[in-house]
């Protein structure tokens, strides 16, 4: 009789352990699914990152690395791009033009190359005579923070470090200027 009770208790322990494992398994899958379905942040604090810029593409900041939180107090325009992305080529001249107009007004542009090869990315920057800070998303660590779904995608961060605007398509000159003016006026 005691033997039967002991066997039952052992069985119960194993059942609980197995159930916990299954529950853990389901939770991991649920979290993975949630992370996968997360969308781009459109408000709140902009996820911080450190960007290793391409040689010669520090935008005059004089640093090989750019940390977003170090730019607090300035309006930051973040643009994810790639040399293989045709729409990125369409918007690139606009970005360079607007950057030149606003760089002296407390605005910093930051270009982040997404899963690009270095030779192709550098050729792209050269082709479009880009002068604002640009670097690769090494290890693809920045893009997941912003949950980007493709390129080009752009985020505007205000002086307090909050995202105030987001766009998932090429940007026109007029809308970019309007958004920058609005952010600068705050």
């Amino acid at each position: 009789m005691n033997d039967t009770v002991a066997k039952r208790q052992t069985g119960s322990v194993w059942l609980i352990v197995a159930l916990l494992v299954v529950v853990g398994f389901v939770l991991v899958l649920a979290f993975a699914l949630r992370a996968r379905n997360a969308t781009q942040p459109t408000s709140g604090a902009a996820p911080d990152f450190t960007l290793q810029v391409y040689p010669g593409y520090d935008g005059g900041l004089g640093k090989p690395q750019i940390k977003l939180s170090d730019l607090r107090g300035q309006v930051v325009f973040i643009n994810f791009w790639a040399s293989w992305c045709v729409p990125c080529r369409d918007e690139q001249p606009v970005l360079e033009k607007v950057w030149k107009q606003y760089r002296s007004k407390g605005v910093v542009f930051v270009g982040i190359g997404y899963v690009d090869t270095e030779p192709a990315a550098l050729q792209y920057l050269k082709d479009f005579s880009v002068t604002y800070p640009n670097g690769p998303d090494l290890g693809v660590k920045i893009a997941p923070k912003y949950h980007i779904q493709g390129v080009p995608e752009s985020f505007l961060v205000d002086r307090q470090g909050n995202i105030v605007w987001f766009k998932i398509a090429p940007i026109s000159e007029a809308e970019l200027i309007a958004q920058l003016n609005q952010a600068l006026a705050k």
């Binding site: 059942l15 197995a18 494992v21 398994f25 991991v28 293989w84 899963v115 030779p119 660590k141």
Partner: protein, 169 residues
């Protein structure tokens, strides 16, 4: 006159030697480049590419993907192989630059090890639950049978049933 001719012969000889040295050096350079893999075949590129994922598609191997991004990645593989890098070094470069997600087979280390381990753990846990539940059901069924057989009430009903069946006959 003879002195001038001798000088010209010496100069001519030097020129011939210089030319030969130049030709030999060129041949050596060409040979070295060829030995380093200057002519990388598509098969060599694809052998590396099929171990990597397309950076912009879902689970599409790099060797069969037709996007511009993949074409650039394959070009980079070709360039790296042409400079003498081993396939493992090229794969390591892509992993370092773009993260583990570019690998067709996630590495059995760190967080990605869970991808390999969890299915087996889940399977073992599922089998364990099944075994425990089945054992319990069997044990309960045996216990119920034993109780039914030993019950005097059941015996009484059985006897009555048999008696009434006999009467009907």
């Amino acid at each position: 006159m003879q002195e001038a001719r001798r000088k010209m012969q010496v100069a001519g000889g030097r020129l011939v030697i210089t030319l030969w040295v130049g030709v030999l050096a060129s041949l050596l350079i060409v040979g070295a480049v060829a030995a380093q893999g200057g002519t990388v075949t598509d098969d060599q590129v694809n052998a590396v590419a099929k171990k990597l994922n397309c950076p912009v598609c879902e689970n599409v191997p790099l060797d069969v993907c037709e996007t511009q991004a993949c074409a650039q990645w394959r070009d980079l593989i070709r360039q790296k192989l042409a400079t003498g890098e081993k396939p493992e070094q090229v794969i390591a470069y892509f992993r370092d630059t773009y993260g583990d997600r570019v690998l067709q087979e996630p590495p059995l280390s760190g967080f990605t090890a869970l991808i390999w381990i969890l299915p087996f753990v889940g399977l073992v846990a599922g089998v364990a639950i099944l075994v425990v539940v089945l054992r319990r059901m069997t044990a309960r069924s045996v216990a119920v049978d034993a109780t039914t057989e030993a019950s005097p009430v059941a015996d009484e009903y059985r006897q009555r049933l048999e008696r009434e069946l006999e009467e009907i006959k």
